[in-house]
Symmetry: C2
Subunit: 339 residues, 2 copies
């Protein structure tokens, strides 16, 4: 059973979307799992009542798997991410994360400020031994299977060693949570050959060959939508957080361009939008922040109730798969092998 | 009038596609312009005759605007790009480029090895004063106007100063060749705020503010398909060649994924492919290598006759617009201002 703390106050459409998403998630999850809505109790409770009296009345039977945890402070867009833990220790972000080291919760989900969630997760959950930084893993739909891309924005100017750590984190996630056997890892670069790339990727390529991971070599931009090279399907693609973040946002912007373009050619834009729905981020349930001791799932700021539901489900999968313990074990084995 | 040297031997479908592309281009260009087909004379001539006796018989009247220039050596995929000029001085790449400093041609177009074309262009055409490296400019279709993105692969690990030079090159191209008045320049990063990004982009942001260019600030991945931010349309987007190349190849791979996805939802893939044709690189006629003293247009390795035609037309536009002289002038003014 998993207890998922959900930041009820985080996201552009909170708390309406977060509270509704919690109810939708509970309806689909095994009854053993529960949700802790973290936020201003009166506000959260009012939204919960309104939903259960109204459009989500059919979900009333899940009410007893929801608890509300008071967090009086609210993070503003103007708050500096790095100052949230100290500056607003009673915000939903800080309170929700602290439940894990206190043994009261198994995972945290937020659609609030990504920077604040990352900083607070590092301080409150702490990092596994040997890591300098966590990585944000995101999911790219492809013509083959969904590809895990990391880092997607937690780190810029990464060292080769950090890229290898991302590979290890991503491979563990793919294996434990996505049930991929012996996941194939690719290094994002600008040519297949090991000598293609920038300084960090060229060195990372050599390190990955000796990493014990199932490293298939460099992959290029085109291999992401294709789900791999001609020779190899890929499960995990490693890059620095600058490249990963640019790509992620580019990808989010491509579908609207496709809809626009096809509309000008006479297609019905609603039909196209519906046809592309599987490419939508909200299907993929939030991006896990990997490397922290615990579970912290970053949902999109514009999360709908459906996106929140999928993020909560991703958190449950992370907990029940034992991902966090596996990451800890594999990092320590890798450190021993390197020593 | 412009004399365009075309590497008849370069590209996956050469010389058939290159010779056919030359004829298609001449049919659309002003009669003052001519094409020099550079390659093994016997091979090129045989293809030209066959096309004029067959499917392109209607183009026979353009034959007198084509000359064939002998280049006996052929570049192989296994040749090291940097060794082409010295190792194969009589290849179509080296011979075709040398026509410019010899005063015999105004531009060079090739669908051959990008690396070889870049290296040979730097050696044979040389760089404008003050530049360390050229940049490859590519064209991204967007929901607004086409966006020029550079660098798209000539340089990795760029310094902030190089990023500013790319901005200047791209802005001159947008103004002279694409006729954009006071082109808006954006710096690709991972957030709008000047302090977001990696070390090079953060410093480049400050330098761009003082560059005299119409700098609109950072743009994000999503602003490329959107053609700008909510506030500003963008004409030129600057990034290092690693990021630019990953994005370019990613973009090339996205349309097939969209076709795949929509086909699974019941759409006719041929209809979708036809509807997305304006997003195809072959519409955009090759990528200019900016910063060299002359015109060198890099066409896609898989160029069709249509793509070659558009690359030749892009070369003519570059010549007739006086782009090269403008770039030289603006770089020297910028250098004086900085001194």
């Amino acid at each position: 059973m998993a207890r998922i703390a959900l930041d009820a106050m985080g996201g552009d459409f909170a708390p309406q979307a977060t509270v509704a998403g919690a109810l939708l998630a509970l309806a689909e999850l095994d009854p053993a799992h529960s949700i802790q809505l973290v936020g201003q109790t009166a506000v959260v409770d009012a939204h919960l009542r309104a939903l259960l009296d109204g459009e989500l009345a059919a979900h009333a039977r899940h009410r007893d798997r929801i608890s509300i945890i008071e967090a009086p402070e609210v993070i503003e867009m103007t708050d500096r991410p790095s100052a949230v833990v100290r500056g607003k220790p009673n915000s939903s972000m800080a309170v929700g994360l602290r439940l894990q080291p206190d043994g009261l919760s198994d995972a945290f989900v937020s659609a609030g400020s990504t920077g604040a969630q990352m900083a607070a997760s590092m301080v409150i959950l702490r990092l596994h031994a040997g890591l300098k930084r966590p990585a944000i893993a995101t999911f790219f739909p492809s013509s083959r299977r969904t590809v895990v891309v990391l880092d997607s924005g937690a780190n810029v100017d990464c060292s080769p060693e950090e890229l290898v750590q991302f590979a290890r984190l991503g491979a563990t996630y793919a294996e434990c949570v996505m049930r991929r056997a012996n996941p194939a890892v690719g290094l994002l670069s600008i040519g297949e050959e090991p000598e293609k790339g920038n300084a960090a990727t060229k060195e990372a390529h050599q390190l990955l060959r000796q990493s014990g991971l199932n490293f298939i070599g460099n992959v290029e931009g085109r291999d992401l939508p294709a789900g791999g090279t001609e020779q190899h399907a890929v499960d995990v693609v490693v890059c620095d957080g600058f490249v990963g973040n640019v790509l992620l946002k580019f990808y989010e912007g491509v579908a609207p361009l496709m809809v626009d373009t096809l509309q000008k050619e006479g297609f019905n834009p609603d039909d196209i939008r519906a046809g592309l729905k599987h490419l939508d981020y909200s299907e993929h349930g939030g991006a896990p922040l990997l490397g922290v001791k615990g579970v912290s799932i970053i949902a999109h700021g514009k999360s709908s109730p459906r996106a929140i539901k999928n993020a909560v489900k991703a958190a449950v999968q992370a907990v029940t798969s034992g991902m966090n313990e596996q990451i800890g074990q594999r990092l320590s084995v890798a450190a021993e092998n390197a020593a």
